[in-house]
Symmetry: C2
Subunit: 317 residues, 2 copies
């Protein structure tokens, strides 16, 4: 054990801020954020250098509904702009709560949020087959109109109706990476790459340009973790660990697993796409690229999971 | 002239991003931001250290309308949260455009946006008499319901109907001040305190707590300018200079004016409250507290105004 503090990127699931059974008032979100921020403040008080990233599904979903409902009065903003709005909103909730809880613990650390763009590639195959559902459900008639008038890709999504789907490309480069690193170096707690980051193309002439897509927040968190030289990566979600043969008669929880074994499980299709799949992929990539440990667990087990005592951890060997 | 670069805080009016006669699509806003960011990029290319702040009136107005229109489906967010969303949105527009235009000019400088909170005092007299109109106009019936159900203060606002008014307290402390300074020191172009900052109370135990109010963006910009040790403060608005006896037969433009004279004009009530008044007040406070020059002018005269060759400039003596 060296004296250098260990650095962890904590990726918060959408449910850490807004739960599925809640309406989503500001009071609901503040109450959840207080619990979440308490766990993070404990990590910081215990000497961890923490960088926070978070999902934005429920919040950007609400912003998209507001944009739709008011579309006759106020021009609807594209998805990249709505994502930027959600970074402002969630960053504000988190930085305020975290600063308050650090103060309670007599820890003096500034907490800030950076509006974050993440470069994706035009050649990413995700752009040929949009898969990520976003925004409100609607009728077939409305879906057909949105496809015609706005060029949306819409899919039937079970009994609740139709929904827009957008590409979910790979995160390539975090535009604000160097600033994030500089701030960590001077002891600042940074909240960044919210909602997987605002997806942007880097054009041939180097210019950035927003694009309507959603980057998986755990894959973006893994990119962030490697960029800032984190030793640990913590994915907080609504289950306490990952399961093999999930939902079947042979279902069993995964505790500690080597990266080689985890990669094999992934190849066997053990983990659901759009759910545990990208989380395990993010965990594996982090450790394959030099990370010491990635843990996937629930919020209340954060500290124990970083000690390898709870959740599912992926380790080098 | 020393070798140390001069530092300027540029405060952009709402019209720098969305003009009154525009619908406010993302394309409109991006087009305006490109022009605005071009002027700022020129200043940076000419050696100025620039910190950017901006109004958010039109954008937060649209967000408030969206919140109202969708209130039956999605819980409306309080004003502090809407302000945070607007900081994300406008920061994103500005940081992307500015980075692109700096790249065109072969200037390598990171550009980032910080979500910014500004402490206001519970004892501020503004809380006893809300004056700042925000959000959509409505009928008397609806206004009465909003007063009853949500405790809003509503005022009749001419022929367009009723409108909510909120307090406009003084900016006391920028919570993220130290981080802003650290980033400037390493050559980063920082966008901060958007919309005058998210107003927060500092409670007796030190905890921060959001409050529904609007801080004047020029007064907050002046606070920012002093906090970061700016030598210059540039307030960009929709007129090229300030007038005395505005609208009367003796109307005349103000060029360069000493801070003592400007203070006298203010005391005489020369400048309209909620319009040129707070701009001149901000200019005077900046120079009274050690600033070299504050210029009030239109976007296209930014560079000339910093040389004292355009706009209205307030100087020490």
């Amino acid at each position: 054990m060296t004296n250098k503090p260990e650095r962890v990127v904590v990726a918060l699931g959408g449910n850490a801020i807004l739960q599925a059974d809640q309406r989503g008032t500001a009071a609901d979100q503040r109450a959840n954020v207080a619990v979440t921020a308490g766990q993070i403040a404990d990590l910081i008080a215990n000497g961890w250098e923490v960088v926070v990233t978070h999902g934005n599904g429920p919040q950007v979903g609400n912003i998209l509904i507001q944009n739709e409902e008011a579309a006759g009065v106020v021009p609807a903003m594209p998805l990249d702009v709505c994502g930027a709005q959600s970074q402002g909103q969630l960053g504000y909730f988190l930085q305020q709560a975290l600063a308050n809880l650090l103060r309670e613990r007599n820890v003096e650390r500034p907490v800030v949020t950076l509006v974050s763009q993440v470069v994706v590639s035009r050649d990413d195959p995700a752009f040929d087959s949009p898969t990520k559902p976003i925004g409100p459900f609607c009728t077939r008639e409305r879906a057909e109109r949105l496809m015609r008038e706005r060029g949306y890709v819409m899919r039937e999504a079970g009994h609740r109706g139709w929904r827009r789907v957008v590409p979910s490309p790979e995160p390539e480069t975090i535009v604000e990476r160097d600033t994030i690193k500089q701030l960590i170096r001077v002891g600042t707690v940074v909240i960044a790459v919210g909602g997987g980051g605002i997806p942007v193309f880097r054009r041939g002439d180097g210019r950035l340009e927003g694009v309507e897509a959603v980057i998986d927040k755990d894959l973006a968190g893994q990119r962030l973790a490697l960029d800032v030289g984190a030793t640990h990566f913590l994915i907080l979600t609504d289950v306490d660990r990952v399961f093999l043969d999930y939902g079947g008669p042979r279902q069993r929880g995964l505790d500690s697993v080597t990266v080689a074994t985890a990669r094999r499980h992934l190849a066997q299709g053990q983990f659901a796409p759009g759910s545990m799949g990208p989380k395990m992929e993010a965990a594996v990539r982090f450790v394959e690229n030099g990370g010491k440990l990635c843990a996937i667990t629930s919020l209340d087990r954060a500290a124990a999971a970083l000690r390898g005592e709870a959740g599912t951890s992926v380790v080098p060997c």
